[in-house]
Symmetry: D2
Subunit: 461 residues, 4 copies
């Protein structure tokens, strides 16, 4: 499961694009396939976007081409390979009152319907991104400030959106009424910073102020910062999977420290699904905090029995005649001494298709483990996300059609244990009503329309 | 002076994108900085675009990613460096009835005015290309076939346009009512081919059928080819500079063979501005045919006294402390034996700023020439083009503010002679009313509005 | 401190070069700046080498160009940037009896002296690598098999060398008489594998057979494997720093599991330099096992209070006007919740210049730690390595000229503790006489000649 | 047929490497697949080499990395694709007295024999270039200056060599006793320049001094320039094909201007093989001067009936299902108007395999020519070159096994005429004894040993 996007913006700092570059680097885990920055100087905007990691897309010359004291940026994971450049964000739109750049984290559920309606009225679409829908809706609004027009435009869309806008004289941050995706505000000297996660503020030594609230808009401009509520929040929809897996451990998310929450998930898991083990081993790196909590609570030694390679590139050439599949082995390897002859409890953050877990179990057993007990610090993943995370189809989610016993057999573990949904919220210390847990429960906070597929065909690089 | 674009399309051939690739290669002289192809299969369209020469932008994998029996392509010269990729054509628009790709050669003179009007009504623009204006205008038309809608949309625009459109079920070629830019139709087995110049038909062994007429539209579809007139032609506006310089010598342009016309220009130049010379030397390669005609008419030997390098790349690093400027010398060099002690008549196709001619005269003199007489097989270039050619500003056109004697002194030639405008049309054997000769005469066939600059800011790669 | 090289070879497998590619990937931590493979088929050898990570240097086409059932490969860290390609290994030499490829891990101490002698006799050198010296010495030997000639040639050299040779009909592995660098032998079906570390055997599912002994040579050929002793071992010189830092935790090194040894170093450190702490935090990833051992022994909770980024590229553009230095912050970040208000014991594997430790201490303090106690699971690094590891000069090694108290003040830690040399060997459970600990003690097992610098000037790419 | 190499060196100019870059650019026609420069400052040498055109291999940073007031460079055509980088020149050797760089144009005929002898004595070879043989021979010489040692070393080699050497304090140019390949000396302010062709002197405004004589060595050093004869010249071996095809038309070669000689070849061809034609058309660009001479002598109009594309890259993707072969058509195209209905005499400089000529004849006929008469301004090419030019094997040279009538039929020309060998020398105005015309006559000036193939296997990039 992969997050779609991370966003970062800064208003009022002479090295704006450079700080966005740093901020995007801190958010790299939210999207590794494309990156872009739009910077503003005077009334003009300049863009640089490309495929690849932030460090690949931007060099000194690219940053030098983005002068100005305000900038927004975006990292994304993209579904279609060669065609993706046209969808790299921020998108740039020219409205009658001038250019506006938009960076979006999330997914709209009624984009296709709106696009069809707009096209019928004479609009043209040039990307396959649902973010373009937002641009068109804003263009339809003629009255008031950009903030007013954005607010009215967003009344038409449903789904998940944390958005950054940059115009000639404003930077605007918006979070949808459910608050699916995170968005935090910080301060750096006289300037303001908006970021998907607080870890990006830390990197540039910005001060954390607060989380933008669901249904809230913050507007940075020449006269400082203004907060306004643009929509009522019927209920919360914070993505619980951000806690479980996506967010960086050093991020403060939805009011809680991610690493600490994950340790609590491990502790709760220990209570709900203890294992008779000699050692507790995490699947690195995301399983580490839960494993620490799990081990502590059970009083069983913690050890790094699996090692993660630092040098895994995106493409890896498999030997032609190989029947081994190196996919997991080049990423992870087993530390024999920690595993040999032991009853091993392996702690991971989630289990999606089961194929990776199966390989990990086999690897641990091959290293000489006496028993392998897999523990997942989250409930079974049964439903696809519709709000900004790239999940397999329901058919591919093993827990949607198999019992825990069946899964345990498939992955060849001696036992398998999950955290319960109630245990998850107990560990979190929060109400379910504030969160979206649709991937576990199937309870989607927003009604999903019978969506027709977006129709614009692939745009190549 | 550089042409902005070349276009090429094919309908009804199983290797459509590959043939477009070949056709664009033949049109490479019309634009060297970006290239793109959109291919259609079933109702879908796929695009590949990039910066550079056709051979750089497309490799076997790129062509393989463009299956289908129809495709259109585009080469362009672009004014802005790193920002140009967003403007690479063909552009792709999603209308309510599906995607349409557009490739454009020419320049609209009222694009800014239309954009302002459309933006005021809620349209958004995402490129700095005036071609996007055409896309929006088509989207505003709701009734009838794509051809109908294009015809009505084009009623709003003024200026130069040879256009190719590709939709799910049609390829459409259009030439503006003045016929500024060329567009020819050919046939390849069962398929139809549209190209800026006939030389591109020759490369793929397509049969030349006819030139698309000013104000004419040709529509290739499942039922064959239909010609229709979509606008009246008040007068002709064929670009006479295509004859003088742009078109490839092996092209049949506006009903005449380019190489032959250029030889006739040289012959007429010999009558109007003979030189007492021992040898006639062209500035290669574009000056060669006029020099042949000039030499023949005067009965003076023709010789290749200047040699052009085949290996000139786009960037060339000048020595830091150099006071020499190698710009011309790395492109051209003098053949001493042909020039030493001789009275040399040098024939070139045009003289724009005078700086290159000055270096050429100096080079020939340094090779030992006794006298250097420069002859230009066209009238003085005094006015910028507004219809699709990248010209310097009026201030930079030396002939706009200097007499022929002054220019001769500047370039240090012993004498300088131009062809007269009447001589140009005499050699051409055509009426001035059929042509645009504004770069020589200042008579622009279309009134130029007080144009406000296009407002969308630079879109980076 | 960076290791210079990793080597990997295979004899007798139809996908030899592909398996070397995998093996080099597992050894990537031993050298990230260049990689190369030479493969043999029939009597011929083919090479592919390049700058960068294994995954960058080799694509499917490169591997396809290296057919054959035997191959050796090399990864290296290189000191000189643009000039390094000429030094990428394996080197290929043509001797009178045919071509031989050589891959080398280690450093010779008398290479300059031998080169001067050989040059005086008419030899020419074409690289700056001391490996070329070995090639020349072999060429001087005329009698006997390749193995005989190698054995006699190596009698002339002093220093550290684990070597792989590939000729038309043999693969030979050699380890110097002191055994400075590791080299292990494995078996894959009918074939033999030689690798710097056992983790590379694991990746390709090869069976670990034994460590090549100091002064031993193993020869794989058509008739199987032959072991021979080519030199006496006066004493051991196994690099103790391989245990401390270089080797991968999942490697079996010098007869012990690396991860387990590091945990024991942490336990011994807890006994020698306990800290009154609320939490034990490793500097990831290399400090993790020692921190686990340290925490266990002290009974203090272990936590991942520092997070390491997965996306650190080699170049990172610093903001121009920045006074912050992001070098460490983009690699590591602090987890506030684990540190705030706590007395933190930070465990690292080594402390070289002190500048990184200083930044880490500052980062932990900025996250709210009440106290910061740095513990190093090794003795102070006081002397440069001369046997294959890239160390700073003595001047740059802070412990060579500062007391522990001074260092503690420099890095602003509340306390600083090291492991003693005797504690190191106690944890290791081995005799000092078997090891080289010169970086800690200054006791170099081989006398260092007054070395004149190698004289060949930079060879560009 | 392709030349192997071009060389250029400069001694005593502060922008030495930059001027070598320019000089290599002027020599680009002599080799397009690799380029390199070695520059000297103080006693040190620095190199930059790469695959591709000069403008591709060198950017501003590369030139900046080559400081110093002396430099030599090399362009080469190389036979083996991916393996070629190891062979890119100048080669750098470290001798006992310091580093020396070597750039070589030519081919040794006894390199294999010498290599075998040197290897037997303990030398090792690291490239497949016969230039390395020269390096080894110099290293064998212990006495005297570098010039002395080079002179003695060259006594052992046979074949073609124009060589440049650069050491810490000398630049040395050498031409073999037969003078197969050209080498000229020029002067630029206080500095000296050596170049394969005089056109490279012209580009940098260096003054032409004289041709280095066969068997001569010129030594530039701190005290100026010294000429010395290092070998007797039994007879001349100047490559007559340099006049016919290789050298640039603006070069002064072997005492004559190339363009002028080619016009005289055309005039002599007109006398020996006149054609009843309405127009004389060259195969551009190399056939142009001979065609001018041919047309003048016959009194038949000259015209550019074939046009050469400026945009031909090295790779060109053929349509998969195509039975047309675009190889020639993308390079050359026919100008219909100049050819239609005419009897066309086509003049080319040489005819090697016949396949290209066959396509040209077909192209001209397809353009409507009434008759096509091919005239070659040289004798039939019947024998491969052994002295530095890449020729097809004898089997592939159509004239080695077919009569002129048979060739005419193969290429489908109405007639075919060659220049005779005596006519060639008549036009040249020189004695055969001063030249090598082995490609026409089979008379090789140097006895060819039964050469065993060079044995070092492919060295990859």
């Amino acid at each position: 499961m992969k997050d779609h996007c991370g966003i970062f913006g800064i208003w009022g700092h002479t090295e704006a694009s450079h700080l966005v570059y740093l901020g995007l680097h801190a958010l790299q885990h939210r999207g590794q396939e494309a990156a872009g920055i739009v910077a503003g100087q005077g009334g003009g905007l300049r863009a640089h976007r490309g495929m690849g990691l932030v460090a690949d897309v931007f060099d000194a010359a690219a940053l030098a081409s983005l002068p100005g004291d305000r900038a927004i940026g975006h990292v994304r994971y993209s579904t279609a390979g060669p065609s993706a450049l046209g969808n790299a964000q921020p998108l740039l739109f020219n409205f009658s009152r001038g250019p506006v750049a938009v960076a979006h984290n999330g997914t709209l559920v009624n984009a296709g319907e709106i696009q069809a309606r707009l096209e019928a009225k004479g609009s043209i679409f040039q990307t396959t991104s649902d973010t373009e829908v937002i641009g068109h809706l804003i263009a339809q609004e003629r009255e008031g400030s950009l903030a007013d027009r954005i607010a009215r435009a967003l009344a038409h869309v449903q789904g998940a959106y944390s958005l950054l806008f940059l115009s000639g004289d404003r930077m605007i941050g918006v979070r949808d009424p459910f608050g699916f995706r995170p968005l935090v505000l910080g301060k750096l000297r006289e300037g303001y910073v908006l970021a998907s996660e607080s870890c990006a503020l830390d990197l540039i030594d910005a001060e954390y102020l607060y989380e933008v609230e669901p249904g809230e808009m913050v507007v940075a401009g020449p006269d400082g910062l203004v907060r306004r509520r643009f929509a009522e929040s019927p209920r919360g929809g914070r993505c619980v999977f951000e806690h479980v897996y996506f967010a960086r451990p050093d991020t403060r998310l939805f009011g809680q420290d991610v690493h600490e929450v994950r340790k609590r998930l491990g502790r709760e898991l220990a209570r709900e699904a203890p294992a008779s083990a000699d050692v507790v081993v995490p699947v690195p790196d995301s399983g580490v905090p839960a494993a620490i909590g799990y081990a502590e609570t059970l009083g069983v030694p913690f050890d790094m029995g699996l090692v993660r390679s630092h040098y895994v590139g995106r493409t890896f050439i498999e030997p032609a005649q190989s029947i081994r599949h190196f996919g997991v082995k080049v990423k992870l390897s087993a530390v024999r001494d920690s595993l040999r002859g032991r009853r091993v409890a392996v702690v991971d953050d989630s289990l999606v298709r089961g194929t990776t877990s199966r390989k990990i179990v086999a690897m641990i057993r091959a290293a000489g483990a006496a028993e392998v007990h897999l523990r997942i610090a989250a409930p079974p993943t049964r439903f696809p996300c519709r709000f900004g995370i790239d999940t397999p189809t329901r058919q591919e989610l093993i827990a949607s059609s198999h019992s825990i016993d069946e899964i345990a057999r498939f992955i060849t573990a001696d036992s398998l244990g999950y955290l319960s949904l109630s245990g998850l919220f107990r560990a979190l210390g929060r109400e379910r009503a504030d969160y979206c847990d649709a991937c576990f429960s199937g309870d989607y906070p927003v009604a999903l329309p019978e969506e027709e597929p977006r129709r614009l065909h692939v745009l190549g690089g």
